[in-house]
């Protein structure tokens, strides 16, 4: 579904991604884990078209989307839930969700939009309760749910999520991850970026470890969780080894 080859991207002269290659197959959940500043967010921004990559190839659904503007990429079914949620804080929850369906406005009917809303409300009951409340007044976790719900309104083929657990209460993180599992079970393809490696690897089929803009390790989630290097660096286990 998504195939990235030798992607180079960054900000101005700063090169953040140095030849990243990865792929996501249909129906798969893939996690990209790495420390702060490793280039995870840059990677997702480059795929979503918010950031113009310097070089490489991004093929989504057999189309080369490298360098296409963000608003065209989401129309193809490749949708990003950005880091820090970025809900429209001065607008109501319902308006936020309706804007999520904007990219499909030509094919949308009142009924199909309503159906989309109902599906999101089924997934996140709290959003239905708060539907006429301003998004800026929601808690961090509720805003994260809203951001995911808004992305789902575009009926994506691939859902990319950037740090869905960031700034969210631990109990709510569990809720959000349970929802991600549900979405995956319903057949949605997911690309997840996380510092919270434990949570990400628990739901993903496969994972990539990214360090200073390069993929240093990849494999099935189980294999990555068992890898001593990953455990030490990202799962906080066996810290004694560092002392030695």
């Amino acid at each position: 579904m998504l195939k990235i080859l030798n992607l180079d991207a960054g900000y101005g002269a700063l090169r953040v991604l140095k030849g990243i290659s990865l792929h996501v197959s249909p129906g798969e959940a893939v996690a990209v884990i790495g420390a702060n500043g490793a280039g995870k967010t840059t990677l997702l921004k480059a795929i979503a078209g918010v950031l113009k990559p310097h070089a490489g190839e991004i093929v989504f659904d057999k189309r080369n989307i490298l360098g296409r503007p963000a608003e065209r990429i989401v129309r193809l079914g490749c949708c990003l839930v950005p880091e820090g949620r970025h809900v429209f804080s001065s607008m109501t929850v319902r308006e936020n969700l309706l804007l999520g369906a904007y990219c499909r406005r030509r094919e949308n009917t009142a009924a199909s939009v309503q159906e989309g809303l109902e599906q999101v409300y089924d997934l996140f009951g709290i959003l239905k309760e708060r539907s006429s409340q301003l998004a800026g007044t929601l808690s961090g976790g509720q805003q994260q749910m809203l951001a995911i719900g808004r992305a789902l309104m575009s009926r994506p083929k691939l859902l990319m999520m950037d740090e869905p657990s960031l700034g969210v209460a631990p109990l709510v993180v569990r809720d959000i991850y349970e929802t991600i599992v549900t979405l995956k079970r319903n057949g949605l393809t997911i690309l997840l970026v996380e510092q919270n490696a434990r949570a990400a690897l628990a739901v993903a089929d496969r994972g990539y470890v990214i360090e200073t803009g390069q993929i240093v390790l990849q494999g099935p989630s189980r294999q990555l969780s068992d890898n001593p290097e990953v455990q030490r660096a990202y799962l906080g286990k066996e810290y004694r080894r560092i002392d030695e």
């Binding site: 979503a48 078209g49 918010v50 904007y102 990219c103």
Partner: protein, 295 residues
């Protein structure tokens, strides 16, 4: 002052105030999608009125006004496509300076097309001497047109921004540009649209006031200063507050004119602007500090 006099000044204050409000709403629409102040906003009113005056010689008045609004709307879009969109490294300050330049160019172009004579549209209904009496005050029927059209513009815009997909998309752009793009909203097109919308409502406002105030090529600058004062007074970007602020400034001007020489009228807006910038830069009705947008 007796009641008829108070009514007379009050109504004239509300009339000019509602025009200031429309200019301010035009500022706000563009500010909300781009973060810039379009100093050519006053010129849109004059271009609209002038075009309608020229067209009214060949077609009936309503058609002339409609034509003028459409032409000015197109001009607004064209200005955005040709000048604003092409600015490289477009910082807010740079774009604002572009709009100042544009206002001068448009003004000079109008001087060449319509020379420096004041022109005016005919009264929409009746003649310049047709009046209605409200609580002892005699006002021109055109004043009712100004008030009515202003109310319709503000209501229509409110409905547009709240209930239409495109209106919501424009609000989304002003709220969070990146998130809007991730929803599939073409933010560049929304900016073009905001210029078209501002130009269109500006042109309509220019047409309805033309019979009362007459229209001269260089009147845009004064209107822009008044509108800008009102926009700041209400809090940039807040259109409902701009209406209240517009009426406030209009009434204040009327009060000053009623008590002092009418030459002081032009001072009022500037004094208010200075006071508000010093003491409440985020506007009278601001609930939170206005931050500079970095869109």
């Amino acid at each position: 002052m007796n009641l008829p006099q108070i009514m007379q000044y009050g109504l004239s204050g509300i009339t000019v105030g509602s025009v200031y409000a429309i200019v301010a709403v035009g500022f706000n629409i563009i500010y909300n999608t781009t973060g810039i102040i379009n100093f050519a906003q006053g010129e849109f009113l004059i271009v609209g009125a002038m075009t309608a005056i020229s067209l009214s010689h060949v077609v009936p008045l309503p058609v002339a006004i409609l034509g003028a609004v459409l032409i000015t709307t197109a001009l607004g879009g064209l200005i955005e496509l040709v000048f604003i969109r092409r600015v490289r490294d477009a910082s807010v300050l740079r774009l604002i300076i572009v709009t100042i330049g544009l206002s001068i160019v448009i003004r000079e172009a109008m001087l060449h097309i319509w020379d420096e004579k004041p022109w005016s549209l005919p009264y929409f209904t009746g003649t310049s001497s047709t009046t209605v009496s409200i609580l002892g005050a005699y006002i021109s029927v055109q004043v009712l047109w100004v008030l009515g059209v202003s109310a319709v513009i503000v209501t229509a815009l409110t409905l547009f921004f709240r209930y239409t997909t495109t209106g919501r998309a424009m609000r989304a752009c002003s709220d969070d540009r990146m998130a809007a793009r991730l929803c599939g909203i073409n933010d560049r097109w929304m900016v073009t649209l905001s210029f078209m919308l501002s130009a269109g409502i500006g042109a309509l406002a220019g047409c309805v006031i033309s019979p009362i105030t007459q229209t001269q090529y260089d009147m845009g600058a004064t209107l822009a200063i008044k509108g800008f004062t009102v926009a700041i007074l209400g809090g940039l970007g807040n259109s409902m507050a701009a209406v209240a602020a517009g009426l406030f400034l209009g009434l204040l001007e009327a009060l000053v004119v009623s008590q002092f020489a009418s030459a002081y009228k032009e001072v009022v807006a500037i004094v208010v602007l200075l006071l508000i910038l010093v003491f409440r830069p985020s506007g009278l009705f601001a609930r939170r500090a206005t931050s500079v947008r970095t869109a």
